[in-house]
């Protein structure tokens, strides 16, 4: 789950990272009263779950209350890469003498949390990684000991070789960020930039955190951080029904058992010139209720002109799956054609059951995909 800058900053603040104050406003009036509380100058920052907010005009420096009002009014409701701005963060502006990047993520190769830091702060780190990878320093963190003092200080000195006081502030920020990362079950945590004022005081002025969906069970309070406005309504319904679903732009709805097979099915639809409408992993269950939920989500999309079930029956028996699909489709009013591919355990029995229905049975993935594309028109 991705969370907003202001929410990430709340987590950072609770771990003692130096974050300038700030609160969110949903109207220009609120923005002005917050600016009055903090004193000028302030920053008005759109809160949307995407990068490149500054370039898109969603972040403004304001020296007067008129600026605050105008900018807040402009930014609220703005569309930034398909995300509508519903909230702006009002935060005191600080003078910037230098900018750094500090980030942590899960590194699949070392199987550890990896600290990455660079003196090239305030720009897109993906670009730095591409153009000048030698300017990004990396330190895998041993989970037994955490980020040790000397490791953090070494990184601090690499970033700030001429100023030990600043290096110490960077090192302390890295250690706090690691504690926050682990405690929050993050999959990504970034401060970009971590800045120093001309007086040498460090601040984390931007924050990005992605949380591990698998760990939500031990952070019930984080459920409140979810931005329901930013979530596609069909993706929300799917999440609430415990289905793994991603909406796409096509017209062939896909219901598949297993994530890998679901991806391969989408790919095959595209291979034959069709457009998949979604990714959906229905799991190993043949439970009619689950099939009904999945079909409701897919059929809510009016672009969907055909539905394709791709089921490989391994442990799940195909006749059970067929029974589930027949029960589910009978209970619903469905106007689009449905193709059902069943292969594996008891596949013939399953397909025989489909023969007496309006459902189109198929044996192979190829046959099913081609049929679904044809029926979608």
């Amino acid at each position: 789950m991705n969370i907003h800058e202001y929410q990430a900053k709340e987590i950072f603040t609770s771990f003692g990272l130096p974050v300038p104050g700030g609160k969110v406003a949903v109207t220009a009036d609120e923005a002005v009263s917050l600016a009055e509380e903090y004193g000028l100058p302030v920053m008005v920052k759109c809160q949307v779950l995407t990068g490149g907010r500054g370039k898109a005009g969603g972040i403004k420096f304001c020296e007067s209350m008129d600026d605050v009002r105008t900018n807040a009014a402009n930014i609220l409701g703005m569309d930034i890469k398909g995300h509508t701005v519903h909230k702006v963060l009002i935060t005191p502006a600080v003078d910037i003498a230098s900018e750094y990047y500090i980030g942590m993520l899960i590194d699949r190769n070392t199987k550890r949390v990896l600290l990455m830091a660079s003196a090239e702060g305030g720009v897109e780190i993906e670009q730095v990684a591409k153009d000048t990878p030698e300017l990004i320093f990396k330190q895998p963190i041993d989970p037994r000991y955490g980020l040790l003092d000397h490791e953090a200080m070494d990184m601090g000195m690499r970033l700030c070789p001429d100023d030990v006081k600043m290096a110490r502030q960077l090192a302390a920020a890295m250690q706090k960020l690691y504690l926050a990362f682990v405690a929050a079950d993050a999959s990504l945590a970034e401060i970009n930039p971590f800045i120093f004022t001309p007086e040498g005081k460090g601040h984390a002025i931007d924050a990005k955190v992605n949380l591990d969906d698998n760990a939500m069970f031990r952070h019930p309070d984080y459920e409140a951080l979810r931005d329901l406005d930013a979530e596609d309504p069909s993706e929300r319904t799917a999440r609430e029904a415990n289905l793994s679903f991603v909406k796409l732009e096509g017209n062939v709805g896909c219901l598949v058992n297993g994530a890998g097979l679901a991806m391969a099915t989408m790919d095959l639809v595209k291979y034959y010139g069709g457009q998949p409408a979604n990714f959906l992993d229905i799991g190993g269950s043949s439970n009619p209720e689950k099939v009904v939920n999945a079909l409701n989500i897919i059929l809510a999309d009016k672009e969907v002109k055909a539905v394709l079930f791709n089921i490989f029956g391994g442990i799940t028996r195909c006749d059970d799956v067929a029974k589930g699909i027949i029960a589910a489709t009978k209970s619903m009013d469905i106007s689009v054609p449905i193709v059902v591919r069943l292969t594996g355990t008891n596949a013939e029995e399953g397909r025989a059951m489909l023969a007496d229905t309006d459902l189109h049975a198929a044996e192979t993935m190829d046959e099913a995909v081609k049929k679904a594309i044809e029926l979608a028109g």
Binding site: V182, D212, A259, L261, F312, G344
Partner: protein, 291 residues
């Protein structure tokens, strides 16, 4: 012969009295896997399916039966704990089927396993099936056949799809291995490929990759430098939009890396044919494999 298992494999199932653990334990027993004990805390003294003794701890199972392998069907909040317990009790191979284990838990588990030289497969995986030797996990026994092909995959049902096609074409398998779709896993693509390369019974192998990370790219480099056996590949997720998790926690294209196109390029540059469709995998293998 197979990779990671042999005739000495003696198994304990952690979570044997649960719904999934119980169902799959019966399937494994039916295949002839030597499940000699089960563990569910609080159920010690009971018997599973009238033949397998249940203990409260893995330690008891190891002391009583000399088990060396654990298969874990414990819910996500207890999965890491179950892995520590199995490793501490002396299991040398642990297969964690559980889906939804927090990644930070797995990061913490890893050094503990390294210190004890324990091999972990998974989590969030279908496990391993070595036809004629053992079934450790949830891969369906009905689709496999003994033979000379190795198969490693990050997926579940897509693996079954490919195994099914191999078997239908008369190509049996030494070992079918699902390593799991999470970002941090025990046995990696690379580990499996090294093992298949060294296994004398494995004459050729198939790797089924998917978007996210760079395990396929790393495997490609290794294969180019070290592997003479025929290898073919398939990568799922060519149409996956960036930034979206495609079911598996590890299946995500982030910051422009981990795309199917990059992986395909790396594999092809290493001389490994990449199938366009799952059904092209077997013909591609037959094309390059002069038996």
């Amino acid at each position: 012969m197979a990779i990671f298992v042999d005739d000495s494999t003696k198994v304990v199932v952690q979570g044997i009295t649960g719904r999934d653990g119980g169902f799959h334990s019966k399937e494994m027993l039916a295949y002839g896997t030597k499940i000699v004990a089960g563990v569910t805390p609080g159920r010690g003294g009971q018997t599973f399916d009238d033949k397998v003794p249940v203990y409260n701890t893995v330690k008891e199972a190891v002391d009583q039966h000399g088990v060396n392998t654990s298969v874990i069907f414990v819910p996500p909040f207890g999965a890491a704990g179950a892995i520590y317990e199995a490793a501490d009790a002396g299991c040398e191979l642990i297969i964690c089927i559980t889906e939804g284990v927090p990644t930070v838990d797995m990061v913490k588990v890893m050094p503990y396993l390294e210190e004890r030289s324990v091999r972990l497969i998974g989590p969030n995986c279908p496990g391993l099936l070595a036809p004629g030797i053992a079934k450790l996990g949830i891969l369906p026994a009905s689709i496999v056949k003994e033979g000379p092909v190795g198969l490693v995959s990050r997926s579940g049902t897509l693996t079954y799809e490919v195994v099914y096609q191999l078997t239908a074409a008369g190509l049996g398998q030494t070992t079918c291995l699902g390593i799991g779709g999470d970002p941090v896993i025990g046995t990696t693509f690379m580990d499996a490929i090294v093992a298949f390369n060294e296994d004398p019974k494995t004459e050729a192998f198939v790797m089924i990759g998917e978007i996210g990370g760079d395990a396929e790219e790393k495997a490609a480099e290794y294969i180019k430098a070290n592997v003479k056996k025929p290898v073919v590949s398939f990568i799922a997720g060519q149409t996956a939009p960036p930034g979206k998790r495609m079911g598996h926690a590890g299946a995500i294209v982030s910051g422009g890396s981990g795309t199917a196109a990059d992986k395909r390029k790396a594999l092809e540059a290493a001389g490994i044919p990449v199938a366009d469709r799952p059904m092209d995998i077997v013909p591609k293998l037959q094309e390059i494999w002069k038996r």
